[in-house]
Amino acid sequence: MTDSSGFDDRSENDSSTHRGQLEADGGEAGAPIDTEEARRRPYVESQVVMATVRLISPFVLTYGVFVTLHGADSPGGGFQGGVIMAATVVMLAFSFGIQPTREWVDDSALLGLVAGGVALFAVAILTPMAFDGAALELVVLESTTTVAVKWWVEMVEVAIGMMVAGVVVGLFFVISSGVFGTDEADREGDR
């Protein structure tokens, strides 16, 4: 099984072009994907798509952050912003190949996003209890801390945004890795 080393070799020799393993009509009978030949087959690249994605993805990501941070004053919030941020990564994966994007996105950063979101949400739940309020009763914080309710709401929105972005990107990678993965667990169910 030389799959993983094969990937490394290729990315060193061939760093100018990005290659992935997505085949539009792959897996007719499940067989072609399994061969080394098929794994090395380049992802069908489109210069137009790659140039467009390269151009717009920074703006889309910025817009996602904007939507998350301005949820209290304008339409938007954690759910919307998180999905837009995740869509940026998904877009990159589809234009430059899924495997290179997976290698580029740090897995611990992804898990950190989700865990950080949960932690921030926990802060929002527990802090009011420390000030004689009920859980999540953010309104009591206005008088006891000098921070306006609005900023606590923004914090919860950021927490939701982190969680949603992390989970959606994670789901995408997990589903994509089922066939394209390189370890033994991937092969045991194949016929």
């Binding site: 919307q80 789901l171 995408f172 089922g178 169910g189 194949d190 016929r191």
Partner: protein
């Protein structure tokens, strides 16, 4: 009669689209198309909720210190639906993961052939 339906066009659209989603769920043999049908069905219900939240001449639910009811759409259904959309995408990915797993185990996504393959196993 016709005017009554025209004045409630979104409700009619909700029912028609819901019916199409239901049709896909019943008729389609392909599991991926069943999931698409489930999503079409689900989104028609979202249409019903947002229609209930809408008030003629009202703006979006952006409020100020002197906002009065009737000038804004109802924020509550919007909240329910936007969380439901995100939960929907999570559940869709779970369904698609099951589809991928079924294909890996049985080598087909067709409902009838799947039954044959499963009947053939001990």
């Amino acid at each position: 009669m016709i005017e009554e339906f025209i004045a409630r066009h979104y409700h009619v659209a909700f029912i028609v689209v819901l019916a199409i989603g239901l049709y896909m769920l019943i008729e389609s043999g392909n599991l991926v198309k069943k999931v698409i049908g489930l999503n079409i069905f689900q989104m028609s219900v979202f249409l019903f909720f947002t229609t209930a939240a809408y008030v003629e001449g009202g703006g979006p639910a952006l409020v100020g210190p002197e906002s009065v009811p009737g000038e804004h759409s109802n924020p509550l259904p919007h909240v329910l639906i936007l969380t439901a959309i995100v939960v929907g995408v999570s559940l869709t990915s779970l369904a698609l993961a099951l589809v991928v797993r079924v294909y890996r185990e049985y080598g087909t996504l067709d409902e009838d052939r799947l039954e044959e393959v499963m009947a053939g196993e001990p």
